[in-house]
Amino acid sequence: MTVQTATSPAPPPTRRRTNGHRLRGWAYASPTALFVLVLFVVPLALVFRMSASKWPLLSGDQGINFPDNFTAAVDNRFFVDSVVFTLKYTILATILLIALGLGLALMVQESSRWKGLLRTSFLVPSALGLASASLLFYVLYSPLAGPLAPFMERMGWSFLGSPDAALASTLFLIVWRYAGFYMLLMLVGLQSIPGDIYEAARMDGANRWHTFSKITIPLLKPTLALTTILCVTGSLLAFEQFYILTKGGPDNSTITVVQLIYSVAFQGQNDLGVAAALSVLVLAALVVINVVQLRAFRGSDES
């Protein structure tokens, strides 16, 4: 979104541009400015301040201690594990969601009553909140109450029993919840490809695979870039699905970075300074990762 509006056209100049006009503009924009300033700019500055200060949850600011919070953050015994797990989860979730989103979109792109029904059923889960969806699957995966409970008992296996099974089960939940959403974004992208290009390809005798790899994929690149960035950002910040569904287990194998921030701040350690330091690190990592992605997508454009 940010990239796009940077290039969006400014409104055509009006005939009279008086001080009153500017003042009225500011007056209409002032609630936005107030919210952005108080609830975004100030907290953003505050998090940097906190990350450099001793700041326990209950007693508040105890003065600057830079860079103690950052060393404590990196030395946390779950830091490396959570970073590795978050990256692993992000890569898997992104590949699955982009591939399935595109697959579903190709499947339902022509309009017919049946395909409209399919679209709606793929989209319905995305109306649920992630917390509600996680709670739903918590019951669904349960070895006591879930529909597959007898099967799990016979096999001596459960959905959340081992680290790999827990990750796979969470990925299934995420695909269920988000595949429709990514399908929708892909449909919008597919719609922008002019139909006569496909017509021309068919005249030239291109088969389905050629049409897909030589026309659909290259022309869909802006959409693929947008969806990948969205998906990577969202997955790096994963919290609810692990907090509710796996609770970080089994054996602390599914702790994400945001979960680590939460637990450092509010569960046990109660250290807002270290949590703020971790948040700053996440912010920096996210900016770097997004810049790299934008470069990569732009770079492959030129070649």
């Binding site: 108080v38 975004f40 309009s111 649920l128 909140g129 269920w176 139909g195 919290f239 948040s279 996440v282």
Partner: protein
């Protein structure tokens, strides 16, 4: 890059145009399409099954839940009497979502109008800053917001949660309202102003009816986000009487020492999901259009 504004009435039905002509309905054609129907139908079942199963399981008998024998609403009764009572949590969620929707609509309408129709110093900077909210992780902002709301006397307050959720809605809603206003011909409000309307009454009487689809999209998104949000109230609310519904249902799982009441959890999921699904089905075309009009076209 251009901004695609969709103007047709039902994007779900019309999206996207037919590219390949469907095979003629012959016996051979039917035979060819049967595997597709079976496969796609099975996929649709996979997507719908969890929802259907939960709704059915919430009213079916199960030992260890509020509904031991026979079908009925025992689990919902358990849910209703959980701690402060479901009505309290529902009321909390309604307050947070309602406030968030009203604030988001008001702020983004005024802001969108300002960005679309006025030129003032700092206009682009403010707009970019609003969009930059999207770039910053949720957790990065909530830790300092917890401290900030404490100093503002809004600790443990539903109003505080609503204000924070409104801020997180601003990038999408401001963007959406800006392009909604920009897609309306300038002559419309200029004519109103020539006729003696102030800029505010031009907005209120002339432009607002014209941007209704944008308002519905922004309102729907704000409601879904606020109703479902888990992380902000988790951090900002400590008082168990002020929990919102998702938090209350999540806590419900550990009601009795380590024993999970699955039945009441199912009932809670149904109560949480029902308004979202009903709203989604009613406003599906607006939901879809929200993405379409904000989408990039390369």
């Amino acid at each position: 890059m251009t901004i695609a504004t969709v103007t047709h009435a039902d994007p779900t039905a019309e999206l996207p145009p037919v590219r390949r002509s469907a095979p003629p309905t012959t016996i051979a054609g039917l035979a060819l399409r049967t595997p597709f129907w079976v496969f796609s139908g099975a996929l649709a079942v996979v997507f719908l099954f969890p929802l259907v199963w939960t709704s059915v399981a919430s009213v079916s008998p199960k030992p260890g839940t509020g509904q031991v024998d026979g079908w009925g609403f025992g689990n919902y009764v358990t849910l209703a009497h959980y701690q402060a009572g479901i009505w309290q949590y529902l009321a909390n969620s309604v307050i947070v979502s309602g406030l968030c929707v009203i604030l988001t609509l008001a702020i983004s309408t005024l802001g969108g109008y300002a960005f679309a129709r006025f030129r003032f110093p700092g206009r682009n900077a403010l707009f970019m800053l609003t969009l930059a909210i999207l770039m910053v992780p949720y957790a990065t902002l909530l830790i300092p917001l917890y401290v900030l709301l404490n100093t503002l006397g809004l600790q443990n307050s539903l109003v505080g949660v609503a204000l924070v959720l409104t801020m997180f809605q601003l990038p999408f809603s401001t963007f959406m309202m800006r392009i909604s206003f920009e897609s309306i011909p300038r002559e419309l409000d200029e004519a109103a102003m020539v006729d003696g309307c102030s800029s505010f009454s031009a907005l209120w009487r002339v432009l607002l009816p014209a941007v209704r689809p944008g308002l519905i999209t922004v309102g729907l998104f704000a409601f879904l986000a606020a109703w479902n949000d888990f992380f902000a109230p988790l951090i900002l609310i400590n008082d168990s009487n002020k929990l919102t519904l998702p938090l209350a249902v999540a806590n419900l799982r550990v009601q009795v020492q380590g024993v999970v009441d699955y039945g009441a959890t199912e009932a809670g999921v149904v109560v949480l999901a029902l308004p979202c699904i009903v709203l989604f089905l009613l406003l599906q075309r607006h939901y879809v259009r929200g993405f379409m009009s904000g989408a990039l076209k390369g």
